[in-house]
Each structure stands twice: as structure tokens, then as C-alpha cells.
Amino acid sequence: MSYEALLRKAWKSGDFVVSEAEAKQADPADAASWRKVRHEMEEIAARETWDANSCLVAHREGIMKLAPFVKFREEKFGAVLFETRSEKVYTLSPTGAAVVREIVAGAASADLPAKLKEKYEDPSGKMAVEAASFLSQLKEKGLIVE
């Protein structure tokens, strides 16, 4: 019996005792909650693949990669790059996060504008310009290698 179901029972009957039969009953609310959480976790887990992707592309040539000791994370407050030895943290704009996501997925720098165009609307062309400038900054700071 779920905690929610127990509360409902207690509200109606005033008692918190659960019989063996009740304990074994499947609660539809429980099953629905579980399905919802599982679905959300499928999406979360599919997004949070940064470290695994970095491991897979480390040996590939001709693509951009996170520099050694650099990690990418997307948290609730935004995306960051952090250099694990110096513990320097770089917070990223939405454009920056989009660029780094493509890098982590193994994009070549020549393919980056097309990949961003595929996924994001950029009628003013501002994103393409920002992305190019951001890429130079990342290379300059030694956060990515090619």
C-alpha cells in the first residue's frame, strides 16, 4: 500500500493499521506515479551522458573534444564547464551550452553551424556569430582541443 493510499485510508477511517490483504493490493496511483517517474528518468539519463561521450570520442581525430581534465555539466541553474585541477568554473549562456553539447557529442568544428541550425531557430543569425566567437574563446582558454 502506498503512503498516499494509507493517508487516504486514515483520513476516511481514522486508523493507520494496514491489513495483510490491503498491503498486497496494487494501488493504481502508485503504478501511475512510478510510470511517470520512470519516463522522466529515461529523459534525464539520456541527457546526462557527458562523461561517457567524452570517453568514447577521446581517440577520434578531426573533431573537437573537451580538453583533458575538463568536464561539462548541465545543472538546474544552467550549464557549466569546469577545469577539475584548477577548480575554475565557467558558467555558460544558452548558446554556449548548445555549442558544448555538440562538442561533447563529437561534432567537427566545420559541422557545428549546421548542427546548431538543425536544432535551434536562429532567424537573426546571432546564434551562429555567438557560437563562432564562443568557440574561439574555448580554444583560447584551453577548454577544448581539436
Binding site: R38, M41, A45, R47, T49, W50, C55, A58, P68
Partner: protein
Amino acid sequence: MLRARFALLLSGALGADEAKAEGVARAMELVHNASLLHDDCVDEAELRRGHPTPNKVFGTTVGLLLGDLAFAQGLEEAIDISPNAPKLLVTTVREMTVGELQEEFLKGATAVSVDAYMGVAARKTGALFEWAGAVLSELSPFPHEQADPPRLACAAGILLQIVDDIHDYTLSERVSGKDEGQDLKNRRLTLPCIYAVSDTASRAEFLELWDAKEPDAARIARFLKDRGHISKTREKGRQLVDSMLAMIANLPCKAEAKELAFFVEIVAKREF
């Protein structure tokens, strides 16, 4: 004791202090065994390394407490390694736990992607290896940035997880030393099964076997093997090996790096 062996080999290839490297190896094994003690309680497993589990012999409470003790001892080991080691280990244990929680919430899911599986593996298994790579890197007196020891080590952890997940379908209890078919029993879709689900030719038949009232583990194992999903899983492992070998080539102590490379190949191919 694969973790300990990996730590000692990586340490040799980095030229790190031997005594400290042994501390890293001990900490890794203690933290790993802590997670196994807890996992066996959660899974109600009866066999581990060919022996009855502590939770089977003494009960779940003792199993959990032994796990807590092993975690604490692992942290104690880290204190003597370097100033940064304990702080990094605490973050690592958090990552391992997040990975395990993600896996727990994914039980019963059939829409798990390869990416999601790899991400979870990087946390629940790769993170502890990554810790060893980071700590040993700090202890190395030689330039070695291109080897990227933390990433190299994380890759080793993910590889180990992939091989373990293959073994759940290919090794008997007698050889593996643990209960067979645990992933099926726990409704955990691992990489061979994820490939089966994402293959249009296999999907329907696989899901029928997977969702059967009393799923037949042997039949599922045969299906995965015959349809090439075990091979495809090994190929994924191979990608990681190739990545690791490229990083290993940049380690400063070349003779020891060769031993590490050989070890990585063994891990990928082992049938025990």
C-alpha cells in the same frame, strides 16, 4: 580485484608513489565492496564471488551496516593519500549513488537509450575509477596531460560495466560466482537488451520474451547471442578500448603503460 589492479598499473604508468598507489587501490576496493554489500541487500542476492552473501548469512541489517563500515574505511584510506583525495572521494560516492538511483528509477523501463545506459554506467561504475585517475594524476611527477588519466580511468569503469552486463547473460553461476539472471530478475535493461529493443527486427520478439509472465533467462540469453546483440555490445566495449589505448599511449612510463594496455585488453575479453 580488478579495480585495485587497474589503480596499481595506472600508478606505475604515471610514476606515482607506490605506497600512495596502494592506498588508492585499497580505497577503491573498500568503496566498491561497500556498494556490493548494499546492492546484495537491495537485490536479496544469495551468492557473491562463489560464497553466500553476508545478508543471506546474517540478515539485511548486518549487510547494510557492513557496507557503511566499508565506505567509512575507504574514506579513511583516502585521508592518507593526499589532501584532495577525501574531498574528491566524497563527490565520487555522490556520483555513484546518483547513478544507482537513476538505475533504480529505470527498472522496468524499456525506452532506455544507449546514451542513457552509458551515462548511468559512467556514474555508477566509471566515477570511482575516475577518482583513482584524478588522484594518481596529482601524484605523478611527470608531464602526462594528454593521457587524461581521469577520463582514461572513467572509460575503464564503463568498459567493466559493459563486460559485467554481457556476463549476466553469458556466464553460468559456477563461473561468475554470483546469482544468474540478476538483471532480468531486477527488470534492468542493460546494453545487450537495449540493442535488442532498438533493433526493428528483434524488438517485438525480445519484448515478448522480456515481458512474459515467467521470463526464461536462458532463452533470452540465447536470443541476444543469436541475433548479434551480445556482439554489438562487445563492439561498444571495443570503442572504449580504442579510446583508452590512445590515451594510454601518452602515459609517461612506457613499459608500465604497455602492461596497462594489455590489462585493458584482458578486461574487455575476459570470460570470468
